[in-house]
Symmetry: C2
Subunit: 316 residues, 2 copies
């Protein structure tokens, strides 16, 4: 099951020539989930991977740089005759904000559900759950963790055969939990294997809660609005420095740390270098980079720099 | 005095990979005026000519594809510590819409004036006037004409000298309208010369009123959402076909016709070819193209394809 993160916008509250406003597309199998949707997100997607009919949107908080691209996208979906339902999640007052924005998208013809989430809420989906984690920003704010369901343990076909089970339907019965010919499943099926875990901080101070939620995550996408030199400012504005994010990632023993939501004053290298002093593998994705997340036994998550097609590379 | 139009977004109501949502930056000397401001406009500018502290914004109407980039831009101006005042113009209910959008931009620290305009209203600025012209779309909609003040006639220094006026301060007095040594100004100063005129249709059916306002305009920027094959649809939705726009331009004897606001179904060539059957010089600017508008005696308006810097050409 493919799992990847596409960075549609990696800037902070003000866009730059190189970094768009926050948006992160999560792809798992055929599912498309969007985390935050800053102004211009629909076009960031159109210019690169195409605008998918995302099934669900998760907003981390309601500062406009994180959601202003949503009303136009809702409208575009309608103009494209979308039929699939869409659910938008986020902290209160999400319903109120989206109601105000009806001036933009009016009445859409597909089913649009708006779900307000609080810390501790969880949304179960097919094969995984999205958990909302309380964040520490200015006003209600959430981090999100996507946690896959545990996978069944490995079936040892060779051992089962040696124990006298005939390959074929009996193997299926064993894997489904039945005892076959005196052989119980636990003898030939290994322990359950945890699914993958991706954690997205949203805008926040580093918190103990997030460190716990991110324990051994495959990927932690954490904001790093500032570098250490602005540590005071980060505290005042409810943001995190690169060093703080890296420290959290190290303590949580995550497999990969991706830093995003950079202030306009940073190109990326300063933030990356500072983080790597604490967490050597830290990466700072650029717009349109992808992180592929294989199952742990298949290798480490990998940052793939965007392979631009000529059409997408040219701005027209 | 330099005068030019920079096409920041040339698409219709839905963006494509190549065409952003409507926005047109008019530059005259040091003045920067923005006509319409679709979602993503601030970034279209940041990626190319930079985001200028525009003095005034003119919205043609209040369909969201024409203004959704404004609230975020107002916010960005504030985050950049803008001090210059800004006036936003447009048809009613502009005030109501911008009040609703305070959820995005909150309280800005620069002076922000909102001025609702109706057909026939005019805004005098230093050296030119912006006229609001009633358009025919769905709901209140305006076209705009920027008309420069007439320039004084040409001063014939040689003739004045022959008539006995001494070059120097007396030339200045003549040009200021005084009679000097029996020589009246009208004998040595030619007839006043009209200023330049730019007309921007906004979304509209072709109208007689616009044809009159565009009479002998240097540049007419007209929407051409559809080609002829969709003439019926153009009528129903309050838009114009390429052929209709070209016919209007020919009847109005404009010097240059630029077609914009293309539906996603057109790349640009079909629209251009159709228009050229009626108005041979018609152009269809791409995003980031510029039209330079010299004084008539200096030559014809010229479409300049965008000379991308490497940073702007790459999307990151």
């Amino acid at each position: 099951m493919d799992l990847s993160l596409f960075f549609a916008g990696t800037g902070g509250s003000v866009p730059t020539a190189r970094r768009g406003l926050p948006a992160l597309l999560l792809r798992r199998g055929g599912d498309r989930l969007l985390f935050d949707c800053g102004e211009g997100t629909q076009r960031q997607l159109l210019r690169t991977v195409g605008l998918p009919d995302v099934e669900a949107v998760y907003l981390t908080h309601l500062h406009a740089d994180h959601w202003l691209g949503l009303p136009g996208m809702l409208k575009t979906f309608d103009l494209r005759d979308r039929e699939l339902p869409l659910t938008v999640h986020g902290p209160a007052p999400l319903k109120q904000v989206l109601e105000l924005m009806r001036v933009v998208y009016g009445r859409v013809r597909y089913r649009l559900d708006v779900v307000e989430l609080g810390p501790g809420d969880a949304v179960a989906r097919d094969g995984y759950t999205v958990h909302a984690i309380g964040a520490e920003h200015r006003g209600p704010a959430l981090s999100y963790a996507l946690v896959e369901d545990a996978r069944p343990g490995r079936f040892d076909a060779e051992l089962a055969t040696r124990l006298g089970v005939t390959p074929g339907p009996d193997f299926g019965r064993l894997q489904a939990g039945e005892t076959v010919g005196g052989v119980s499943p636990d003898r030939v099926i290994g322990p359950g294997r945890p699914g993958r875990k991706l954690v997205i901080s949203g805008d926040t101070r580093p918190t103990e809660l997030l460190a716990v939620a991110a324990h051994e995550a495959d990927v932690l996408v954490h904001e790093a609005t500032f570098a250490d030199e602005e540590a005071q400012r980060a505290r005042e504005t409810g943001h995190t420095t690169a060093r703080e994010a890296a420290t959290l990632a190290r303590d949580a023993q995550v497999r990969m740390l991706a830093l995003t939501h950079l202030s306009t004053r940073y190109g990326g290298r300063e933030v990356r270098d500072e983080a790597r002093e604490v967490f050597p593998g830290a990466v700072v994705p650029r717009d349109f980079d992808t992180i592929e997340v294989p199952f742990p036994e298949k290798g480490d998550p990998e940052l793939i720099r965007w392979d631009a097609t000529p059409a997408a590379r040219a701005p027209r």
